[in-house]
C-alpha cells in the first residue's frame, strides 16, 4: 500500500514535470544537440565527422579578434553598468522628489524592443544627431563631429544603455534591503561618507551587484540585434555566426561550430564568475 502510494506520488511528480521537461528537451536540448552534430559534420553533408569547422575558424587571426572583441564589449559594458548603477542606486534610494519616475525610467531599456533603442541611439549619436550638435555647439574647438556610431566605445555605450537595468535593479534592491542602522553605526564610529561606501555599503551590496552584473554580462555577451545593426565594422561572435547562415549557400556547419565555441566560452566564463560570486557572498 505504502509503496503503491509512493509510486503514485512519483508518477504525479513526473507528470507535473513533463511539460517543463518536454520544453527543455524539445526546444533546447535537442536543438542544441542538432547544433553540436551539425558543427561536427563537413559543410553541407549529413554524414561523416570532422573537426575542420572548429579548426578552420580558430586557426585564423580573425577568430582571436572576434573573441577578444566579444569579451571587450561585454565586459566593458558590464563594468560601466556597475559604475553607473551604483551611482544611480545611491541616488534613487534617497527617495528624492521624482524618484518613482526615475525608477520607471530605469526599466525602459528592458521593456522597449532593443532595436528601437538602438535606432534612437544611432540617430542621437549620429554625425548629425543631437549629441554632436550639442558638443559642437558647446565646445567650439570640436570642429568635426565625434564618431560614436560604429565604433567600439559607441557599441559599449549602446550595450550599457540596453543592459544596465539588470545591474541597476539588483543593486538598488540590495541597497534598499540594507539595514540603515549599519550605516549609522559606521557613521557614528567616525567613518565619513566615502569610508561608509567603501568599507560598509559596497562590500554588503556586492553580492547584489554581482548577481545583476551576471545578467548584464550574459545579455551583452549574447547580444545580437544591436551589433547586427549598430556594429558596423565590429562583429562580435553572435553576428559572426549569423553572417555564416546569411550567405548563399548558408554555411550551417561553420555557423554551428562558432555557436558552440560561443556557448562554451560563455559557460566557462560564467562558471568562473559564479565561483567568484559565491566566494564573495560567503
Amino acid at each position: 500500500m505504502r509503496r503503491g502510494s509512493k509510486l503514485r506520488s512519483t508518477g504525479v511528480t513526473l507528470s507535473l514535470l513533463l511539460p517543463g521537461l518536454a520544453c527543455f528537451f524539445g526546444l533546447f536540448f535537442y536543438p542544441m544537440m542538432v547544433t553540436v552534430v551539425r558543427s561536427l559534420r563537413p559543410e553541407g553533408s549529413d554524414t561523416g565527422w570532422t573537426l575542420v569547422n572548429y579548426i578552420s575558424f580558430l586557426s585564423t587571426a580573425k577568430a582571436r579578434d572576434v573573441i577578444v572583441l566579444t569579451f571587450t564589449l561585454s565586459l566593458s559594458a558590464t563594468l560601466l553598468s556597475i559604475l553607473f548603477s551604483v551611482a544611480l542606486a545611491l541616488i534613487l534610494r534617497k527617495k528624492l522628489g521624482g524618484h518613482r519616475f526615475f525608477r520607471l525610467t530605469m526599466i525602459i531599456p528592458r521593456v522597449v524592443p532593443g532595436l528601437i533603442g538602438a535606432l534612437g541611439l544611432l540617430l542621437f549619436f549620429g554625425s548629425r544627431g543631437w549629441f554632436n550638435l550639442l558638443v559642437m555647439g558647446v565646445f567650439p574647438f570640436v570642429e568635426k563631429p565625434i564618431q560614436i556610431n560604429y565604433t567600439v566605445p559607441g557599441l559599449i555605450l549602446f550595450y550599457t544603455w540596453l543592459y544596465f537595468p539588470f545591474t541597476a535593479l539588483t543593486t538598488l534592491s540590495a541597497l534598499e534591503s540594507l539595514d540603515p542602522g549599519i550605516e549609522e553605526a559606521a557613521d557614528v564610529a567616525g567613518a565619513n561618507k566615502w569610508h561608509v561606501l567603501r568599507y560598509v555599503i559596497l562590500p554588503l551590496i556586492m553580492p547584489g551587484i554581482l548577481a545583476g552584473s551576471v545578467l548584464t554580462f550574459m545579455a551583452a555577451f549574447g547580444a545580437f540585434s544591436i551589433p547586427l545593426i549598430a556594429g558596423g565594422n565590429y562583429r562580435p561572435l553572435s553576428v559572426e555566426i549569423y553572417k555564416q547562415i546569411d550567405l548563399t549557400p548558408a554555411r550551417w556547419s561553420a555557423a554551428s561550430a562558432r555557436a558552440m565555441i560561443m556557448a562554451m566560452l560563455q559557460v566557462i566564463f560564467l562558471t568562473i564568475y559564479m565561483r567568484i560570486l559565491r566566494r564573495r557572498s560567503r
Binding site: 504525479v12 511528480t13 514535470l17 511539460p19 517543463g20 521537461l21 518536454a22 520544453c23 527543455f24 526546444l27 533546447f28 542544441m32 542538432v34 547544433t35 551611482a87 544611480l88 545611491l90 541616488i91 534617497k94 528624492l96 519616475f101 526615475f102 525610467t105 526599466i107 521593456v111 522597449v112 524592443p113 532593443g114 528601437i116 533603442g117 535606432l119 534612437g120 540617430l123 544627431g129 543631437w130 550638435l133 563631429p145 539588470f166 535593479l169 538598488l172 561618507k193 566615502w194 561608509v196 561606501l197 548577481a211 545583476g212 551576471v214 545578467l215 550574459m218 545580437f224 540585434s225 545593426i229 553572435s238 555566426i241 549569423y242 547562415i245 555557436a259 560561443m262 559557460v267 560564467l270
Partner: protein, 278 residues
C-alpha cells in the same frame, strides 16, 4: 580615480545640484533616443546639422501603414506572443507546482537545467531550432515562431511560478481541505486566486520577452510571420530611417502600455525577482 572619488563623495554628501544633474543626464540619455525617433518620423527635408526638421509630414506613417503593412505585422506579433504566453503559462503552472511544492531529488539540478537556456546565448540554440523547424515545416507559421519563443519564455514562466507556488501557505490548502473542498475545488477557489498575481507577473514577462524577441524570430520567421522587431531590423537595413522611425513609434506604443502595467502591477523588486536566478 581622484576625480571619481570627489564625484562620488559629492553625490554621497547629497549635493542636490550634482544629483539632479546626474538624474537629468540619465533621464535624457534614456528618453532622448525616443524623442529623436519621434522627430525623425515626422520630419521632412531634414538635412545638414539642424536641431529640428524644417518641415513636418505624416507621409512616413502612411508609408509604414500602406507599404510595410505595420498593422498586419503587429497582429502577427501579438498572435505569436499570445500563443507563446499561453504555452509558457501552461508549461509553467504544472512544472512550477512540481518544483515549488513536491519533493524531488536533485531539485536544484533540475532547476538549473530548466534555466540553462538562459545561460547559453540564444543564437546557439536558435541555429538548432531553425534546422529542426525547417524539417518539421514549422518555419513561417505563427505556431512555429511562437514555439521557438517558448524556448526563452518558458524558463521565465517556470521561474516566476515556482517561486509563487513555493510561497503558498500550506495551512491554507489544509484549511481548504478541512472545510471539505476537493482537490478540484481547492485548485479553483483557493490556489488559483492565490497564485494569480504570480501568473500575471509571468504573463507580463513572457509577453514582453516574446514581443521583443529577435534572435529566434529571425531564424524561424517567414514572409507570413514577420514580427515587429524583425520588420524594424529589415527596415533599418533598407534605409529610409524616417519610415523606420514611424514604424518604431507605432511599435513602441504597446511597450509603453506594458510598461505602465508593470509599473502599476509589479514593483521593481518583483521585476528583479523575475530577472534574478540564472
Amino acid at each position: 580615480m581622484n576625480l571619481l572619488r570627489i564625484y562620488v563623495k559629492s553625490i554621497l554628501r547629497g549635493r542636490k545640484v550634482l544629483i539632479y544633474t546626474f538624474l537629468l543626464c540619465f533621464g535624457l540619455i534614456i528618453y532622448v533616443p525616443f524623442i529623436v525617433i519621434m522627430l525623425r518620423s515626422v520630419g521632412k527635408n531634414w538635412f545638414g546639422r539642424l536641431w529640428l526638421p524644417p518641415e513636418l509630414t505624416l507621409d512616413w506613417y502612411r508609408w509604414a501603414v500602406e507599404v510595410t503593412k505595420i498593422f498586419r505585422i503587429t497582429l502577427n506579433t501579438l498572435i505569436i506572443a499570445v500563443i507563446a504566453v499561453a504555452i509558457s503559462t501552461l508549461i509553467g503552472i504544472p512544472t512550477g507546482w512540481a518544483l515549488g511544492r513536491r519533493k524531488i531529488p536533485g531539485k536544484e539540478l533540475l532547476m538549473a537545467m530548466i534555466l540553462l537556456p538562459r545561460m547559453i546565448p540564444p543564437i546557439a540554440y536558435a541555429l538548432g531550432i531553425a534546422q529542426v523547424f525547417y524539417r518539421l515545416h514549422l518555419v513561417n507559421t505563427h505556431f512555429g515562431v511562437a514555439l521557438a519563443h517558448v524556448a526563452i519564455c518558458a524558463p521565465y514562466a517556470i521561474l516566476v511560478l515556482s517561486a509563487t507556488i513555493e510561497g503558498l501557505d500550506e495551512r491554507v490548502l489544509e484549511a481548504s481541505a478541512v472545510c471539505g473542498a476537493n482537490r478540484f475545488k481547492t485548485f479553483f477557489h483557493v490556489i488559483l486566486p492565490l497564485i494569480l498575481p504570480g501568473i500575471l507577473t509571468s504573463i507580463i514577462f513572457t509577453f514582453t520577452a516574446s514581443y521583443n524577441e529577435f534572435t529566434l524570430t529571425l531564424m524561424t520567421y517567414g514572409k507570413d510571420t514577420v514580427t515587429l522587431p524583425v520588420r524594424t531590423y529589415l527596415a533599418i537595413g533598407e534605409g529610409y530611417w524616417e519610415v523606420t522611425s514611424a514604424m518604431s513609434i507605432i511599435l513602441v506604443i504597446p511597450s509603453i502600455f506594458v510598461l505602465f502595467m508593470i509599473q502599476r502591477q509589479v514593483t521593481p523588486e518583483k521585476l528583479v525577482g523575475g530577472f534574478k536566478g540564472l
